[in-house]
């Protein structure tokens, strides 16, 4: 049981770090730029919100299968299979939690007053400096919320990781799947325990989100 919890935490942590790096440029694009294919990109980012996790999991599985292009190149690079591995689960989790990382950041970036960005450019700040000195501090609440939600949402995955990971004990069997198996095998006390722990983690995570939102770490708006 502890093993599966540890895998869940590890998966959530790695996924969150990767997501923050990927989501920031995406959120920036969606918040400030208009370009061809914008709507398509926005839809792609939001798709995991409505798609059955098993559908997403199935596509990822097909994509990383050992005889696929990605699976073959991964295999020749690392001499291991991407399907039914921790790395494969990370890939699937990143896709699955993408909207939870992109959308809070996108919203936070969009709510930065235009006058601040104009001030940055007339003060001679380039894009990189503006990002570091103005946008990120102004949107740091959104970035924090994105991190917490990505983490919590990854902890709560079931269908996707089952599909892609295959529930290998000690490797890809995460807590939510372990719980399912406890129930199947009628191990009530273990099931109770794990369910309570997962409930607690989610509760703490969401409390964090609401506290951040209330305290207005965004720095934006009339407080």
């Amino acid at each position: 049981m502890l093993e599966s919890l540890f895998i869940s935490l590890q998966l959530a942590l790695v996924t969150t770090v990767i997501l923050l790096l990927i989501a920031l440029p995406l959120a920036y694009l969606l918040a400030f730029k208009s370009f061809r294919g914008r709507t398509v990109l926005e839809v792609m980012v939001a798709l995991p919100l409505v798609l059955p996790p098993t559908v997403l999991g199935y596509f990822v599985l097909v994509m990383i299968a050992p005889d696929s292009t990605l699976g073959r190149s991964w295999g020749s690079l690392f001499d291991s299979s991407l399907a039914f591995s921790f790395s494969g689960m990370v890939l699937a989790s990143v896709l699955y939690s993408l909207p939870f990382a992109v959308q809070p950041m996108q919203q936070a970036l969009r709510s930065i007053p235009k006058s601040w960005l104009e001030m940055a450019s007339t003060q001679g700040l380039g894009l990189r400096q503006t990002l570091i000195q103005v946008m990120l501090p102004a949107a740091r609440g959104g970035v924090l919320v994105a991190a917490v939600l990505s983490f919590a949402h990854t902890m709560g995955e079931f269908g996707v990781v089952l599909m892609v990971g295959g529930s290998i004990p000690g490797e890809t069997k995460v807590a939510s799947i372990a719980l399912f198996e406890f129930v199947e095998m009628q191990q009530a006390s273990e099931a109770w325990m794990l369910a309570l722990i997962l409930l607690g983690v989610s509760f703490v995570m969401l409390s964090l989100v609401y506290t951040i939102n209330r305290k207005g770490l965004n720095m934006v708006g009339g407080r």
Binding site: P113, S115, S121, T122, G124, L125, Q129, M219
Partner: protein, 221 residues
């Protein structure tokens, strides 16, 4: 140094037209609300798009025929807008230093002294009065010693006594830094005490004061 602008811009329903030459002097821009004063400054700052030519300090800012636009970042300008846009998480001193390549403590202190904000340097913007915030924004605009200073009613929140002193300060800094100052103001005192040139704007067109005297003025009346 000769500066030259010849621009046309269409911003919403406003059609802006300006064609003029000036040296590094103080220019007061006045005109009714909606006459295009702020729009003119925004075009000069590169925040709104315009077409034509701009030449400042021997440097081309805009040459539409060649398809060239110098971005705001590279124009070496200092701006004070009616929305002062101080960043709330930075101290006053850090706000003033924003975008500067290095910290020149002596210059920062001198500027703070001149603009009467020395005591405020460690405060957060949320602890400033509107007038103080405006002076901090002016300090931020001046700190980088810009070649052109664009001011949109920079003294609007200042009490009469300090406004008087700020005019003297602005005049002396302008002389020292050799910069062109283009300042929107409704205050006749600003025009009387500061203006080397006085521009009037009407319905988006820039009219020089000189064109408003004599026959034109009679016609207008």
């Amino acid at each position: 140094m000769k500066n030259r602008i010849q621009i046309i811009a269409q911003i919403g329903i406003m059609r802006l037209q300006a064609d003029t030459e000036f040296s590094d002097e103080i220019i007061i821009v006045s005109g009714e609300n909606g006459a295009g004063k702020t729009t003119l400054l925004r075009c000069l700052a590169g925040l709104d798009d315009s077409e034509g030519q701009m030449l400042f300090h021997g440097k081309t800012w805009l040459d539409s025929r060649a398809g060239f636009v110098l971005p705001s970042q590279a124009r070496q300008i200092g701006c004070v807008w009616t929305d002062v846009a101080l960043l709330p998480w930075l101290s006053v001193a850090k706000n003033i230093l924003l975008g500067a390549e290095f910290e020149d403590a002596a210059w920062l202190l001198e500027l703070a002294g001149l603009l009467e904000i020395s005591a405020l340097l460690q405060r957060r913007p949320s602890m400033l009065s509107t007038g103080e915030a405006q002076r901090v924004a002016l300090a931020r605009a001046l700190y980088k010693k810009p070649s052109v200073l664009l001011l949109d009613e920079p003294f609007s929140a200042q009490a009469p006594a300090i406004r008087q002193r700020l005019r003297v300060v602005l005049k002396s800094i302008q002389g020292k830094l050799n910069m062109a100052v283009i300042m929107v103001s409704h205050d006749v005192e600003d025009a009387a005490k500061l203006a080397d040139q006085h521009w009037r704007m009407r319905e988006g067109r820039l009219l020089k004061e000189i064109e408003m005297t004599g026959m034109n003025k009679v016609k207008q009346a």
